[in-house]
């Protein structure tokens, strides 16, 4: 049984489990699934700085912070007790492309050659981690949600603005992965 759990889980197990988060949160406490809001609550709690967007009672939304803390613990538990000992298996074309940029270590979920503490001070690392992270935080809040709030919760509730947002996520992602990322990785 444990051996079975330790293998990477296929999409048809993982996807439905993620989908079930939607009714689970609704039934447990009338909460709409969404993760990027947690970043706003962290701002409201720690650095409101008199910005009106952060002046609200974040404690009422504290469930969201507990939820993301849980995601952190889940990551911790899975890597310590349920880890797959094999490297991530990806498409050969991607392996060939990334090899050209000196990325060949698939032991971790992030590419350790370009995402590590010392590479933060390189242009490549700075663009990928610092600028990339900034765009994630800025973009999700501007869009009013992320993959969970729009693509999963919004589409589950048949909200057309969420479909617009999801399409735009994909457009931005396709553009950046195929055109921007090769430029950045070749520095």
């Amino acid at each position: 049984m444990l051996d079975f759990i330790k293998q990477p889980w296929p999409w048809y197990i993982a996807g439905p489990l993620i989908g079930l988060t939607v009714p689970a949160l609704l039934l447990l406490g009338n909460k709409s699934f969404g993760i990027s809001s947690s970043l706003r609550h962290i701002c409201a709690a720690c650095i409101p700085a008199n910005v009106s967007f952060f002046k609200y009672d974040w404690k009422k939304e504290a469930w969201n912070l507990f939820f993301v803390l849980g995601i952190f613990f889940g990551g911790l538990l899975a890597s310590n007790f349920l880890a797959n000992s094999q490297p991530v298996q990806v498409n050969e074309k991607l392996v060939a492309e990334l090899a050209g940029y000196g990325i060949s270590n698939y032991d971790n979920l992030v590419p350790t050659e370009i995402m590590n503490w010392s590479s933060l001070l390189t242009l490549k690392g700075f663009l990928l981690m610092v600028i990339g992270g900034f765009l994630v935080g800025f973009g999700t809040r501007y869009a009013g949600g992320c993959t969970s709030g729009h693509a999963i919760m919004g589409l589950s509730n048949l909200q057309w603005p969420s479909l617009v947002a999801t399409i735009c996520f994909m457009v931005g992602g396709f553009f950046a992965a195929n055109l921007l990322l090769p430029l950045i990785l070749s520095f």
Partner: protein, 143 residues
Amino acid sequence: MVQRSFSFANMKYLLVGTLFGIVFVKAEIISWFRIQEMFRLQSFHMYGVIGSAVLIGMVSVWLIKKFKVKTLSGEPIFIQPKQFNKGQIYGGVLFGFGWALTGACPGPLFAQIGNGATVIVVTLLSAIAGTWFYGLIREKLPH
């Protein structure tokens, strides 16, 4: 006492989050490599994950509405509708850029840190900074 009940009431969300984080890691949804495959149409995996999650979510919400299911504490279930504004376009594309570069949306950032990629703390702090900057210049942006 108030503090204790506050924390206790939120423990269930900690538990759901933990299970969710385990799925994230086990299905490699938080893998930078899997996100690159998705944006190059080199694998069905992520499309299968998101597609089946949406399908199960849709059926669940439909059932909840059809049978007027209540929460465990007996409240009627209410889902805030999403209002359209241009932010979903501009912000959506900008988030897409960040998603492809970092290989993560906000949820996976937390799971990647838990999984041992400690440098992603910087990416998370930068995402918080991005959110904060949005709050600061919000009124000047087209919506």
